[in-house]
């Protein structure tokens, strides 16, 4: 057995250490360790609760807006005013979140995740299977800054270079309402501080247009495929094929697009958008089995789970307020634009109830109580240096707690949201993988779900900005500190990376008595719980082939295992997949027919 440690796992936000035990090229055991503790929960104690929304959004500079909104939601609840938050304040909160979510997803896909495909080991592999031209596309599009291979500088890729200004543009658009980004300032208990004008709406719309030009040309390639050049038409066109149809048809349409692309020219101009390239070459089932491509990266073979509902579930708290005055702080089924829900590991949906969330600390560096609900939660860190070590998995080994839903570890994020919302494309793919003996959740579906969510959010964002936001509306309802006396509240929201909950208890002076946060990465990267159940990332690593040669070529040939573990791409891909993601893809058609599809819509 070999122990492989990746620390730091870079190109994520924060500090993460992943440890894998490898036998015969397969990961047999894994441990996920968060290696930083800031102690924000203690810092919040005794403060004016309104300050929590400014402080907690500083948990994450990549997706600050979700924390700001979860935090003002928890305050709306504690102040007893969730029923009277004005409609236009909720629309502004949705717009702020929508802009940040798309920026965050795009950053993850193009800046953080896709550079993995330019790892030089893939050059060797793709040349071996006569797909050097695909490697050329990867490195030409996705290479990061300050990168070199064998001493030779590699210039940043075209998609990478194009994505950064779009992330920036989305921050600028959000700053029009929020003052600045990161860490916008407009969200506040009772509503928002800003009063958008017609001019603001126009400016946001113009940013929207330029971002959708990027989405069209680089991500989806609807210009090359169908001659669609109107940025305002992009989301509708794509979703018309993949989202507004049945799940069978959604997958069929995608396979049709991919199947119609040339296999001797992988350029963007030939229709091979970033999404197409990854949808086709990312999956064994889609690329090799269904489309007949000579090889794929087999991202569907790593990061999956056993089909055991006691080991994994898919959780969503519900995202984006309904367009009306007031909202339900418990986020019941269907109340939010993307619904809340819990779907078991064998894909059975049930209604979500936040009281089922508890946190374990058996393997976390805390001495406080185990299996507590967040309202009763405690955060008491170990105080001895000798207690902080990462090499003994029988002891405590992470700064992350282990949140559980009815005792079950849960994946959260775009894939979980799309599963709970039964989004046609993602659901179609998930069921196809299940039917063909794959884990329905894997690196590939996780990435596709995130890409699909960008487009879903983009279409809704257009409506929020151009239709729902009334500049003559009301943006704030009165909230003063006395309303938060001896109170408690729950703020249920979603971040780009998944289910996000804030819980507060206030004292007789309306000060914070207890503030607990259960954040998406805590779900996805959690350590084991008191019952020994693995966190989702740990579970996803176990059973994956550690290196790309064994995974992609299915044989190590003459390559010694020692070389394979030096490039543990499964750890890179699986670890990063919970955060970033890419592509778009397909699902089952008749094996072997490889037939072309008529596209109705376009």
């Amino acid at each position: 057995m070999t122990i492989v440690v990746v620390d730091p796992l870079t190109r994520i936000e924060g500090h993460l250490r992943l440890t894998a035990e490898v036998s015969d090229g397969v990961i047999t055991n894994a441990h996920s360790s968060g290696t930083m503790y800031r102690g924000l929960e203690q810092i919040l104690k005794g403060r004016d609760p309104r300050d929590a929304s400014r402080i907690t959004q500083r948990i994450c500079g990549v997706c600050p807006t979700c924390h700001a909104i979860a935090s003002v939601s928890v305050l709306d609840d504690a102040f007893g005013i969730t029923g009277s938050i004005p409609k236009d304040a909720l629309v502004v909160r949705n717009i702020l979140q929508g802009l940040n979510a798309i920026a965050s997803h795009a950053t993850h896909i193009w800046v953080l995740w896709l550079p993995d495909l330019t790892h030089p080991i893939y050059k060797t592999i793709l040349e071996t299977v006569n797909l050097k031209s695909v490697w050329d596309e990867f490195v030409g599009r996705f290479a990061p800054i300050s990168y070199s291979i064998e001493g030779k500088a590699v210039p940043p890729g075209s998609s990478y270079l194009a994505a950064i200004p779009e992330k920036k543009a989305l921050h600028e658009a959000e700053a029009i309402l929020g003052g600045k980004m990161p860490h916008q300032m407009a969200t506040i208990v009772g509503g928002v501080t800003c009063t958008p004008t017609i001019g603001d709406i126009g400016k946001i719309a113009s940013y929207y247009v330029r971002v959708m030009e990027f989405v069209n040309h680089y991500a989806l390639g609807l210009d090359a495929l169908f001659g669609i050049t109107d940025p305002l038409e992009v989301a509708d066109a794509w979703l018309g094929l993949t989202h507004d149809v049945s799940k069978d048809k959604a997958v069929e349409n995608l396979l049709g697009i991919l199947g119609g692309l040339p296999t001797d020219d992988f350029s963007r101009e030939a229709g091979w958008s970033d999404v197409a390239l990854l949808a086709a070459f990312g999956s064994e089932l889609i690329g090799e089995t269904l489309l007949g491509l000579p090889a794929s990266l087999k991202l569907d073979m790593i990061g999956g789970y056993p089909a055991d509902p006691t080991k994994i579930g898919f959780l969503s708290y519900g995202w984006y307020y309904a367009i009306k005055e007031g909202y339900d702080p418990t986020s019941t089924k269907g109340e939010r634009f993307i619904t809340s829900g819990f779907t078991s590991g064998d894909l059975k949906y049930e209604n979500f109830n936040h009281l089922n969330v508890t946190e374990h600390v058996a393997h976390s560096f805390y001495t406080s109580g185990n299996d507590l609900r967040p309202w009763n939660g405690e955060t008491e860190p170990v105080k001895k240096a000798a207690d902080i070590k990462y090499d003994d998995p029988t002891a405590k080994y992470s700064w992350l707690k282990a949140p559980r839903y009815k005792g079950i570890p849960c994946e959260v994020g775009p894939l979980s949201r799309m599963i709970n919302a039964k989004e046609p494309l993602v659901m179609g793919l998930v069921e196809a993988f299940l039917k063909n003996g794959y884990s329905p959740a894997n690196v590939y579906t996780r990435m596709l779900a995130r890409a699909q969510e960008i487009i879903i959010l983009a279409r809704e964002l257009k409506k929020w900005v151009l239709v729902d936001l009334d500049p003559n509306g009301k943006f704030y309802t009165h909230a003063d500190l006395s309303m938060a006396k001896d109170s408690k509240g729950v703020g249920l929201w979603e971040g780009p990376r998944g289910a996000l909950g804030h819980w507060i208890v206030t004292d007789e002076n309306s000060k914070i008595k207890s503030y607990q946060l259960v954040v998406p990465s805590t779900w996805n990267l959690s350590p084991r719980d008191a019952n020994g159940k693995l966190g989702p990332t740990e579970l996803g690593l176990v059973g994956s082939k550690v290196g790309p040669i064994g995974n992609v070529l299915s044989t190590l040939g003459a390559i010694p295992l020692s070389k394979e573990v030096e490039n543990p791409t499964a750890i890179f891909h699986v670890g990063r997949s919970y955060d970033p993601c890419l592509a778009c893809a397909v699902h089952t058609i008749d094996k072997g027919t490889n037939k072309k599809y008529e596209l109705r819509l376009l």
Binding site: T2, I3, V4, V5, D7, P8, T10, R11, I12, H15, R17, T35, M36, Y37, R38, G39, Q42, I43, G46, R47, R50, D51, R54, R58, C60, G61, V62, T107, V111, P115, P144, S146, Y147, S148, I164, K168, E172, A175, I176, G178, G179, K180, M181, P182, M185, I188, G191, V192, T193, C194, P381, V382, K383, K384, I388, Y390, F475, Y476, V565, E566
Partner: protein
């Protein structure tokens, strides 16, 4: 003044940075490209960017650099990002406890090259505060198995210049706020107290203390212009205030309040008592009158907006005392029992001197009186 005719190599430091700031990052770098190229002598400037107890917001903000954008800046300034956890291709890989591969594939080997002096470490950028706890071990933040503070210490020994970016790396910020149990601190300060992690006497190889660029997050222009100054060999000319902030961006005798887009309402005494009303935010807790930064003239995110213009009271995040000294954020200054660490003289001079009418002057008088009691 015709900036383009200036010989920047002959400017005194005050004028140099004023010119740079006035021209904006893009014009400055564009105009003096020849000098920059000359200064580079065809070699890259290596940057090591360390992230400790951070949120990555300052890195995100740097990616928001407007004109030039971050890629243009990196290209024109000849920056080579030798280590940056959020952006770099490599990651740390250990097999049975040993670092494997090469510095092209292993981040820890890449960092080692700078920490041992094998490659020149021209600029060290620190983002995030530095944990000392528990028990002085620094184990509350580790990277690659090492306490983060060890990495900072080793890099600081090799660095020609050290720039701390954001409230956390400069003064400790939120991770060092009241209630913190982690012993987090800034690189050379803990709030207003000089010392921090590297100690009051630390100077980098170029003989400078840590250049502090606070704010939560830091504005990309501030970093771009500071880096540009360093790269063209003018790092030593950056004038710093007593908290080691470049005075050109954080003027000691000027606060955000002076050029606030809502200043007119203040002068008319139109002070809102509810949010989303569109006037002066003084009574809602605005700390702009005690916050020294050029937010109101530079604006944020390609100059589309700023906090107060969006109706939010300034929370004073550019000040060393942030967040404790500038909170509660939504309580007016005259209602606060203390305004920790704030230069009261400055408040009085700026706010009273400028305000002809309104409750503002009264409020400031109350603060000053309280302080004198």
């Amino acid at each position: 003044m015709n900036f383009k005719s200036l010989d920047i190599t002959k400017l005194d430091r005050r004028t140099f940075l004023k010119v740079a700031a006035a021209m904006g990052a893009a014009t400055f770098i564009g105009t003096y490209k020849a000098d920059i190229v000359k200064a580079l002598e065809l070699s890259d400037t290596n940057i090591v960017w360390l992230e400790g107890a951070d949120c990555c917001g300052c890195s995100e903000s740097f990616l928001n650099a407007a004109y030039p954008d971050v890629i243009q800046a990196i290209t024109r300034l000849g920056i080579y990002v030798g280590y940056h956890e959020t952006l770099m291709m490599q990651q740390g890989v250990f097999v049975d406890g040993r670092l494997v591969g090469t510095s092209e594939l292993n981040s820890e080997l890449a960092l080692e090259e700078y920490m041992t002096g094998k490659k020149p470490l021209d600029v060290l950028v620190i983002e995030g505060s530095i944990a000392d706890g528990p028990e002085g071990s620094g184990m509350y933040t580790t990277v690659g198995g090492h306490p983060f503070k060890e990495l900072v210490e080793r890099c600081a020994k090799q660095a020609s210049y050290v720039v701390a970016i954001g409230s956390c790396a400069t003064y400790g910020g939120i991770p060092a706020a009241k209630g913190s149990v982690t012993g987090n601190m800034g690189a050379q300060f803990l709030q207003t107290a000089k010392g921090g992690f590297l100690g009051a006497n630390y100077v980098s190889k170029a003989g400078l203390p840590v250049v502090n660029i606070p704010c939560c997050p830091a504005h990309p222009d501030w970093l771009t212009l500071t880096l540009a100054s360093i790269i063209i060999g003018k790092g030593g000319l950056i004038e710093l205030d007593r908290y080691n902030r470049p005075t050109v961006f954080f003027p000691p005798d000027y606060t955000i309040h002076e050029n606030c887009p809502r200043r007119g309402f203040y002068d008319l005494g139109q002070l809102d008592t509810e949010f989303a009303e569109g006037h002066c935010l003084w009574k809602l807790g605005c700390k702009a009158p005690i916050t020294h930064a050029d937010c109101a003239t530079r604006l944020w995110n390609a100059s589309v907006n700023m906090c107060t213009q969006a109706g939010s009271p300034c929370i004073g995040c550019a000040e060393p005392v942030f967040p404790d000294g500038t909170s509660p954020f939504y309580v007016g200054m005259e209602m606060m029992s203390t305004l920790a660490g704030v230069d009261i003289d400055t408040i009085a001079k700026v706010a009273i001197g400028a305000a002809a009418v309104g409750v503002g002057a009264h409020a400031v008088r109350r603060i000053v009186m309280k302080e004198n009691e």
